[in-house]
């Protein structure tokens, strides 16, 4: 592939906690300038992987090289060049917005005037300039998240690590965060993120791996994964719970690549959703509700693991 050495290279990477294996031998490469995602449900091993990349969790086995350096031996040098947005906010809520950036900039040994200049720019970027001298505590969840992103950029990192960047945010706040991350990506910042939201992965990631139970189930661009593991369209049908099973049996004779019977819905994986719906109606199937949509990463995940992402 590329002659440029990857920014991160993992081979057979393992993390164990006692007898529990959180990450079970994963391989991946991260190239400069890309947005790379780990998509999977809670407990898939995404955060453990992120902590190993962040050099705050020594790998139990396997190879990991970050920026060409060894995370155990060269943790200080590597972390100096990373930006980290942790899953739980670690802002000092009793300090002001500006002081949080000052403290964090000092951790990186930056001179005060450099921190001051970058703080102005970063707060403008995350739309918090007017809150610069307010305490962090009363800020909304979305504002705190944006401040954490600003803080993670104070050292102008080579790689930005984001662990579940929008978990717990309302839709509006999520979109504000996505917008900022998208701009960072356009400016050439290399992003690594974990998420259990397929829409987040689809919007932000150039390339992603689907993780389940500590392993990588598949990898590629969102489009490749959807083409490989799903169909262009998906027909979703809802029934009265009493008729659910019976309807599913009837639907088996509708021409579809695959049929998934979920607890609350039946999914038909097809080329053309509308004609599949007509075919179903012709068989006498009368759903309470129907929806034709395009295939998504959610479908990829279901196909690969037999489970839904939210489960």
């Amino acid at each position: 592939m590329s002659a440029v050495p990857p920014l991160i290279r993992a081979r057979g990477l393992v993390k164990r906690f006692g007898s529990f294996t959180a990450v079970d031998g994963i391989d991946f490469d991260l190239q400069r300038g890309e947005a790379f995602g780990f998509l999977g449900p809670n407990g898939a091993g995404k955060s453990s992987t992120m902590r190993m990349i962040g050099c705050v969790s020594p790998p139990s086995a396997g190879e990991l090289s970050i920026l060409g350096l060894d995370p155990v031996r060269d943790g200080r040098e590597i972390r100096a060049r990373l930006g980290v947005v942790p899953q739980d906010d670690t802002l000092d809520v009793e300090l002001t917005v500006r002081e949080n950036l000052l403290i964090y900039g000092r951790y990186f040994g930056l001179p005060r005037d450099v921190i001051r200049e970058r703080t102005a720019r970063l707060l403008e970027f995350v739309q918090l300039s007017d809150r610069a001298d307010d305490q962090v505590d009363p800020l909304s969840g979305g504002m705190k998240r944006r401040l954490t992103i600003a803080r993670s950029l104070i050292n102008e990192p080579d790689i930005l690590l984001l662990d579940e960047p929008t978990t717990g945010l309302d839709p509006q706040a999520r979109h504000a965060v996505w917008d900022r991350l998208f701009r960072l990506k356009q400016q050439g910042v290399t992003l690594v993120l974990t998420t259990h939201y397929m829409d987040e992965a689809e919007q932000l990631c150039d390339r992603l791996v689907v993780m389940d139970a500590g392993k990588i189930a598949a990898g590629g661009t969102p489009r490749e994964l959807i083409e490989r593991y799903s169909t262009p369209e998906v027909l979703e049908l809802r029934f009265d719970p009493a008729d659910h099973q019976q309807a599913a049996e009837k639907l088996a004779s509708v021409p579809a690549q695959r049929l998934e019977v979920l607890a609350d819905r039946v999914l038909l994986y097809v080329e053309d959703g509308d004609s599949a719906l007509l075919a179903a109606r012709a068989l006498g199937v009368e759903p309470l509700a129907s929806l034709v949509r395009r295939g998504t990463l959610e479908d990829v995940f279901l196909r690969l693991t037999g489970r839904q992402l939210g489960e």
Partner: protein, 276 residues
């Protein structure tokens, strides 16, 4: 919309890794910034604490003691006997206060430590940065104590100035092992136990208020084992002008060994807690 990066990503300058001292100093600066919020309140208690104790017990109770027991105290006023002991005990109190909830809270509440460990700082730097801060707090409180004691007329010898670093070392002999322990806690219930069953008995029975020769013979060796007794007796000897080189070596040596052991334990406990 301005670019957030002033250079092409991936071209960050590479230099040698900063030293442990420089990294610890960065964590110390965090604590100093943080302290700006609370320093006023803490100064009040730093002044008020010795004023109340030296006034009530040193002068008030001391009047009664001086009428009877001056011989047991080596022929000095109770105030002059008490003040240096209380200096060491106050250092212990400051140290225990600074090394319990602030450390626990930095992991569990505001997650200052988790934020710092994602930067170039290592767990050992985060630990040492806080120990440096506690050292400064001890130096500050002990100096204030000395000034208050002087105002009460409790200082008998210029050597009492040397009692300040001795008291700081006494505080560190508590701070480093307690920090090592506090960072491993997952619940904060054990701290009240430390205050109730460890600090208060030490405060009362380590020779602060009366010579430990007054204790039952079987209990005295326990007092000799506590860092506080070494701090109290050396501070007192300095104020009364009775210190000799042997005592200085033994007491300072003992306190330094305990503080160093706490430092080693803390290096390990911080790493295990923050690098999971």
């Amino acid at each position: 919309m301005a670019d957030v990066m002033t250079r092409v990503p991936g071209t960050s300058p590479r230099g040698p890794a900063p030293s442990g001292w420089s990294l610890s100093a960065r964590q110390l600066r965090f604590w100093l910034t943080n302290y700006r919020r609370t320093w006023r309140g803490s100064i009040y208690s730093s002044v008020l604490n010795p004023v109340l104790f030296l006034g009530s017990i040193g002068l008030g109770l001391g009047t009664l003691v001086n009428q009877h027991g001056a011989a047991q105290l080596g022929g000095v006023s109770y105030l002059a006997f008490l003040a240096p002991g209380l200096l060491a005990a106050a250092a212990m109190e400051t140290a225990v206060g600074e090394s319990t909830y602030p450390v626990y809270g930095s992991v569990k509440w505001n997650k200052v430590y988790q934020a710092a460990v994602a930067s170039p700082l290592r767990p050992v730097d985060i630990f040492h940065g806080h120990v440096l801060f506690v050292t400064l707090r001890l130096a500050m409180n002990c100096s204030i104590f000395l000034a208050v004691a002087a105002a009460f007329g409790a200082v008998r010898s210029a050597w009492m100035i040397a009692a300040v670093p001795v008291a700081v070392l006494t505080g560190l002999a508590f701070a480093t092992p307690i920090e090592a322990w506090a960072v491993t806690r997952t619940r904060d219930t054990s701290f009240t136990m430390i205050f109730r069953f460890f600090m208060i008995p030490l405060f009362l029975f380590s020779g602060t208020f009366f010579p430990i020769t007054q204790l039952p013979a079987w209990l005295r060796p326990v007092a000799y084992l506590t860092p506080l007794w070494h701090g109290v007796s050396l501070c007192r000897a300095l104020n009364l002008g009775t210190a000799d080189l042997g005592q200085v070596v033994i007491d300072v040596g003992y306190l330094a060994v305990v503080a160093a052991a706490g430092l080693l334990a803390g290096n390990r406990c911080y790493r295990r807690r923050l690098y999971v």
